[in-house]
């Protein structure tokens, strides 16, 4: 019997070569803002404009997005690693809060709260939840709003000391 050509480690090495961005997801449910950093994000259709996000299956964030039926992705700039860091832990705040982890938010009843320092934002309504046998829930979002606040280079995960891929050690 030949050894398996693909070891666990090689699969992880190859998976860690996938390029991802780093975004802060925000949503609101009842009287609270819910947010966390996400990186498993991709556009999946031009017409209609759809995005796919993967959220840890039983996370507070996945439950909040599922219930709220909408979410926003805040796009960070290359010099905003400090903004991303606190969002590696799930963050929540009252809907009326003016800031989240020290960063200003635009509260707006009936819409998703947004980080006002981000380069840009995308608002989506949940359009579906594709079936997956994985440990992350898949959420399909249809774009309902977008805005650019300023010009700048968006942050990719490569540029940071962090990684999120392969399998946990």
């Amino acid at each position: 019997m030949n050894p398996q050509p693909s070891s666990t480690d090689v699969r992880n090495d190859a998976l860690r070569l996938l390029t991802n961005g780093l975004y802060v997801l925000t949503t609101c449910l009842e009287d609270s803002i819910h947010s966390a950093a996400v990186t498993w994000v991709s556009q999946v259709s031009v017409q209609p404009p759809l995005v796919l996000i993967a959220l840890r299956r039983n996370s507070h964030l996945a439950h909040a997005v599922r219930k709220a039926r909408r979410f926003a992705l805040n796009i960070l700039a290359t010099d905003q690693q400090a903004l991303a860091a606190p969002f590696f832990a799930y963050q929540t705040a009252p809907l009326a809060a003016a800031s989240l982890s020290g960063f200003a938010v635009r509260p707006d009843v009936g819409r998703c709260p947004l980080l006002t320092d981000a380069l840009g934002w995308l608002e989506c309504r949940v359009a579906g939840e594709p079936v997956t046998p994985g440990d992350h829930a898949l959420i399909l979002g249809e774009v309902t709003g977008a805005g650019v606040r300023r010009q700048g280079q968006p942050l990719t995960l490569w540029m940071t000391p962090w990684s999120y891929g392969g399998a946990p050690e």
Partner: protein, 161 residues
């Protein structure tokens, strides 16, 4: 409804890599450059790959249920560019790039620095213009460790928006 131009501008702020997907079809081997790729689970390891409906690569993947996803390295822009359009395939080359079949029955280019051999476990996105293939990672290879991947943003090209 969102302003289409602004939506496009923001969607193009997303970060992607470049990959060459290869799959077998009864008419031969199909290869195409894709960028809408993300990991989708740690355990089991899953990746989600979106391919434009109606393209040769999308149809070959839907039929054969298997494909290779090859990471385009930082110095391999030409490799990606070679598969922006469909190319006629020979028995062991497409567009001047040689490939060999792996034990899992997927074609992998000799030029690929790293690759994932994928098996489709779910298809999604009935309402969209791309099919989302959710795939289990059957195998993988890494010819040159520590080689950096090409980011779409570092090229003159973009996709989507």
């Amino acid at each position: 409804m969102a302003d289409r131009d602004i939506t496009k501008e923001v969607l193009r702020m997303f970060s992607y890599g470049l990959y060459v997907a290869t799959a077998q079809s009864p008419e031969g081997t199909r290869a195409a450059t894709v960028s809408w790729v993300t990991q989708a689970s740690f355990e089991p390891r899953l990746v989600a790959v979106a391919m434009r409906k109606g393209t040769g690569i999308c149809e070959a993947t839907a039929a054969s249920r298997r494909f290779a996803l090859q990471v385009v390295a930082a110095d391999q822009a030409e490799f990606a560019k070679a598969f922006f359009r469909a190319n006629p395939s020979g028995p062991d080359e497409i567009g001047g790039y040689r490939f060999t079949m792996t034990a899992n029955g997927v074609p992998v280019f000799d030029a690929a620095a790293a690759w994932l051999e994928c098996e489709v476990v779910e298809e999604a996105n009935a309402t969209g213009d791309h099919t989302i293939f959710l795939c289990r990672v059957l195998g993988s290879g890494l010819r040159e460790p520590a080689r950096a991947a090409l980011a779409l943003r570092e090229t003159p090209w973009h996709y989507g928006g």
